[in-house]
C-alpha cells in the first residue's frame, strides 16, 4: 500500500500544506485504524487494503473526462464539481454563496482537528492528508430563497481521489443541497464533508453515493448544529465494493433538530457500512433517525449508531431505528443502535429489526397476476420510498428509485 508506506516513511507530498503536515504527523502514530476498535472491527480488512492500493490522483489528471451523468436540465440548480475550479462568487439580492478564503479554511480545519479521535476520525485524517488545495471546496452561504445546490465528487479509474467539502450556513439561512459521490471502475474516493449550521439555519441535505465495478468509498460527514438549527439528511449508498459512511453530528448548544433517513444496499460480495454518532451537548435536542439496509447475495451491510446524551442534555427527544432486509441466506447484516444516556429527563428509544421479503405480501400480489419479480420490486419500492422521498433537490430528476430497482 503505497499510501501507508508514504505515511510510515514520512515521505512528504509535493507542496504539502500545513494541514497535510499535521495529519501526516497524527497518522504516523497509527497509519491504519485499530481493527479491534468498535468502529473498525467489522470492516473488511482486505477491502480496506484494496481502497488504499491505488495511487493518489493529486492533480485530477483524468477528471477532464468527467461528465455529470444526468439529468441534463440544471437551469434552476447550482452545480459544483469538487476538484474543478469552483471559482464561485454569487451575490444576489436575497443570498450570497462565496468561497471561503484560504485563511478561513485553515482555521476551521485546524479547529476541527483538535477534536479528532484517531480511530473515529481516521477517515478524515487520511482525507485531509491526501486532499490537495484544488480538491478542497469551502463555501459560506447566507440569505434566503437560495436555489438548490448539487455538489459532485468523483473518483476516476485506477486511482485514489480525496475530496473535501466545507460549508458554513450563516444565521437564518435555508439550503437544499444534494451531494453526489460517484466512483468509476477500480477506484477509491475519500470524501470528507464538514458543515457548520449557525443559529436558525436549516439544511436539507441529500447524499447519494454509487459506484460501479470495484469502486470504494470512505465518506465522512461532520455536522455542527448551533441552537435552533435544523439538519435533515437523506442518504443512499449502493454499488460499492467497499463503502463506509461515517456521520458525526453535534448539537453544540442543544435546542436543535436532526432528522436522518439513510439506506445502504449491498449485493455480490460488497460491504457497505454506516456509523453514526450523535452528540447532544445541550438541552431540548431532537433526533429522529432511521437507517435501512438491504443485503443480497453474499454481501455484508453494517449499521452502528450511537446517541450520546450527557447530563447537560435534559429534555432530549431522540429515536433511532435500524430496519434491515436480508434477501439471501448467504448475506450478512450487523446492526447495533445504541444509547448512552446520563441525563435523567429525556425521551430516548432505539430498536432494530431484520426481516426478509414478506412472503404473504408476495403471494397476495402474485394471486393478482403480478410476477414474483414485479411483486418483489413493488415491495422493495415501498421499502425504499420512505428514504428516497427524503432526499432533497433532484430526487425526481435523478430517477433514483428506478435506478435502484432495475439494479436489484
Amino acid at each position: 500500500m503505497e499510501i501507508i508506506e508514504k505515511i510510515k516513511t514520512n515521505k512528504s507530498i509535493d507542496n504539502q500544506t500545513e494541514i497535510q503536515k499535521i495529519c501526516l504527523d497524527k497518522l504516523q502514530s497509527s497509519p491504519l485504524p485499530n481493527p479491534r476498535s468498535e468502529q473498525w472491527r467489522l470492516s473488511n480488512k482486505s477491502k480496506l487494503s484494496n481502497f488504499l492500493e491505488y495511487s493518489v490522483n493529486e492533480n485530477n489528471e483524468n477528471n477532464s473526462k468527467f461528465e455529470i451523468p444526468y439529468p441534463k436540465n440544471t437551469q434552476s440548480t447550482i452545480r459544483l464539481i469538487i476538484g474543478e475550479n469552483c471559482q464561485i462568487k454569487l451575490i444576489e439580492k436575497n443570498y450570497s454563496i462565496q468561497k471561503l478564503s484560504e485563511g478561513e479554511l485553515q482555521k476551521y480545519i485546524k479547529e476541527q482537528m483538535s477534536f479528532f479521535n484517531q480511530n473515529e476520525n481516521w477517515s478524515d485524517l487520511l482525507n485531509l492528508f491526501l486532499s490537495c488545495k484544488n480538491n478542497i471546496l469551502g463555501l459560506k452561504i447566507n440569505g434566503s430563497k437560495i436555489p438548490p445546490i448539487e455538489i459532485f465528487s468523483h473518483a476516476s479509474s485506477n486511482s485514489l481521489n480525496a475530496k473535501t467539502l466545507i460549508i458554513f450556513l450563516e444565521k437564518n439561512c435555508n439550503v437544499e443541497l444534494l451531494q453526489v459521490n460517484l466512483g468509476e471502475d477500480n477506484s477509491s474516493l475519500s470524501q470528507s464533508t464538514f458543515f457548520c449550521l449557525e443559529e436558525n439555519s436549516s439544511l436539507n441535505h441529500g447524499v447519494v453515493s454509487y459506484g460501479v465495478n470495484k469502486s470504494n468509498l470512505l465518506n465522512s460527514l461532520n455536522v455542527i448544529q448551533q441552537k435552533n438549527s435544523e439538519y435533515n439528511l437523506g442518504s443512499l449508498h449502493f454499488k460499492f465494493n467497499y463503502a463506509r459512511f461515517e456521520i458525526r453530528i453535534k448539537q453544540s448548544e442543544g435546542n436543535a433538530k436532526t432528522n436522518i433517513k439513510g439506506m445502504q444496499i449491498t449485493k455480490k460480495d460488497e460491504q457497505i457500512s454506516t456509523y453514526t454518532k450523535i452528540d447532544f451537548d445541550g438541552p431540548n435536542g431532537f433526533l429522529d433517525q432511521i437507517n435501512k439496509s438491504l443485503a443480497d447475495d453474499k454481501s455484508h451491510a453494517i449499521f452502528e449508531g450511537s446517541i450520546i446524551v450527557p447530563k447537560i442534555a435534559q429534555k432530549t427527544d431522540a429515536s433511532q431505528l435500524s430496519r434491515n432486509l436480508l434477501l439471501s441466506n448467504r448475506a450478512q447484516i450487523d446492526t447495533k443502535p445504541q444509547l448512552e444516556i446520563i441525563a435523567d429527563d429525556v425521551k430516548c428509544k432505539h430498536g432494530a429489526t431484520i426481516s426478509q421479503l414478506n412472503e404473504e405480501e408476495l403471494f397476495y400480489m402474485r394471486t393478482r397476476g403480478i410476477t414474483l419479480t414485479e411483486a418483489s420490486k413493488l415491495q422493495l419500492s415501498s421499502y425504499f420510498q420512505e428514504i428516497i422521498s427524503f432526499i432533497p433537490v433532484s430526487k425526481d430528476r435523478w430517477d433514483l428509485l428506478d435506478k435502484i430497482l432495475n439494479e436489484n
Binding site: 405480501e361 397476495y364 400480489m365 394471486t367 393478482r368 410476477t371 414474483l372 419500492s381
Partner: protein, 261 residues
Amino acid sequence: MQSKMKESDPILEVKNLSASTDNLPILKGVSLTVYPGEIHAIMGRNGCGKSTLSKIIAGHPSYNITNGDIKFLGKNINSLEPEERSQSGIFLGFQYPIEIPGVSNLEFLRVSTNARRKFLNKEELDTFDFEELVKEKLEIVKMDQAFLSRSVNQGFSGGEKKRNEILQMALLEPKIAILDETDSGLDIDALRIVASGIKRISNAQTGIILITHYQRLLDEIKPNYVHVMSDGQIIKTGESDLALELEKKGYEWTDNFIKET
C-alpha cells in the same frame, strides 16, 4: 350429485387432492368439480382445511401437493405459479387481505388488471384509461375514489378491505372466484354490498366457491352445492338446504358423517 351430466366442460376439477406443509398433511383426498354458472359453498370448523384448499388452488408456495390433480379449464395446473393461475382466470379473495404500505392501490389494481388483460390478448390500459374503467367498477362495491390513492389495504376497515377484494374480482373478471370468508367481519349493510357485488360480477360462464362459516352470506347468494369439510376431507355434499340444516344442528351433527366415512 357431483357426477350428474353437465352440458359444458368443468371450469375446475379437483381430484383426490392431498397436500401438506412442513410434512404435515392438511388435505387428505379432496375432490370437487365446478361447472360454469355454479356457486359452491364450503363450510366446516376452523382448521378443517377450507382456507388451505383455496390457497393450494391459487398456488401458495408453502404447500406441497402430495397426491391428486387440480385441473383448470381442462389443464393440469399443479405446477403453475400463482401469477400464471391468476392471469389465466383463477381469483382468490383473501380472508385477511394483505396491507402493502407504500404501494398505491390504483397502481396495484392497474398492474394486476393489465397482467390479466395481457393473458387475454386485450390491450393493456394506461393510467388514464384504467381510471375510467376502475370508476365504473367502484360503483359495484360502492367504494369512494379516495381509496384508490391510498396504499393497498393500508388503514382500510375490515369491510373496506373486503370490498377492495371484490373490486379486484370485478376488474380481473376471473373464470372462477374462490372467496375465503368474504363475509367475516362485515356488518349487515356491508355484507349486502359485497353479496350484491359478487352476484353482479358472476354469470353463466363463471364459477364461484364461497368459503364461509355462516348461513347469512348464503341467504344473499344461494349456492347450488354445499360441501362440508372436516379434517382435510369433504365429508358431505348437498344442495343449499344442507347449509340450513348445518346452521340448525351445528358441526357436531357432521361428526356422524366422519364416523360413517
